[in-house]
Symmetry: C2
Subunit: 118 residues, 2 copies
DNA sequence: GCAACACTCAACCAAATGGTTGACTCTCTC
DNA sequence: GAGAGAGTCAACCATTTGGTTGAGTGTTGC
């Protein structure tokens, strides 16, 4: 299950590594879109766009509902949350420096106000 | 510059899409590591591991300092922060639902405790 | 100064990626 | 029911990726 989580991150980060797919996600942030609508902004064949959409689908970043002859896609945010959480682990490395700075400032402030017991 | 940011996200997400490279980052979260130390846990040649390290370096996720014959790597968190921030845009999509759920629960609780003014 | 060490580099290979085109399957509309 | 529309599928192609091995480059230590 750690294994499967690893694979999930593999496919999610791989899906996010392509600018076309990231743009598609941003389009979907505006609401449901058909395959045709998602493909339209790009200078590539519909088949190529369809492959990108499939990659997003396999990463479970989107879900597809077939309505008649059109396929409507919508954002499925859970894997994005996982990726966000994974990155959050490293937050201390870019925020941590601020924390250390803060500690130093507190210590400095503490030394200045020494003796004045609350 | 939007262009360059896009490319940066490309390389960062691509670097993160590989489990070997993610493990290397986690090792580096524990502090500085040499190329040999980073490569050691993996059942692959040093040359292969070196390529992974170069991928991390090109994504600016790590920095390398040459000390004599050893190359010491350390985490460079800024691009992780960018990726985290990019994902953060979608937070409303997974947090929003929880908000709605929360509202429903509150409404439910409110209905149950109707009349019992605090 | 020479052998071992810590790596990188280059050439090579198989598999995956990202694109194309053409044929095919449904579905809708007239 | 025939044609147009929406989209997938399969075959193909060039490029990239992720690995290998073997040789090469500095550095260190005896």
């Amino acid at each position: 299950m750690v294994e499967s989580q690893t694979r999930q991150l593999d496919t999610v980060f791989h899906a996010l590594a392509d600018p076309t797919r990231r743009q598609m996600l941003q389009a979907l942030a505006g609401g449901e879109r058909t395959v045709g609508q998602l493909a339209e902004p790009f200078a590539m064949s519909l088949a190529a766009a369809s492959k990108h959409i499939k990659a997003l689908e396999q990463a479970r970043l989107i879900r597809r509902e077939v309505r008649g002859r059109t396929h409507v896609c919508r954002l499925e945010p859970a894997p994005l949350a996982s990726a966000h959480e994974w990155l959050g682990f490293y937050e201390r490395f870019w925020a941590g420096r601020l924390d250390i700075l803060e500690q130093l400032l507190r210590a400095e402030a503490g030394r200045k106000s020494e003796g004045e017991k609350k």
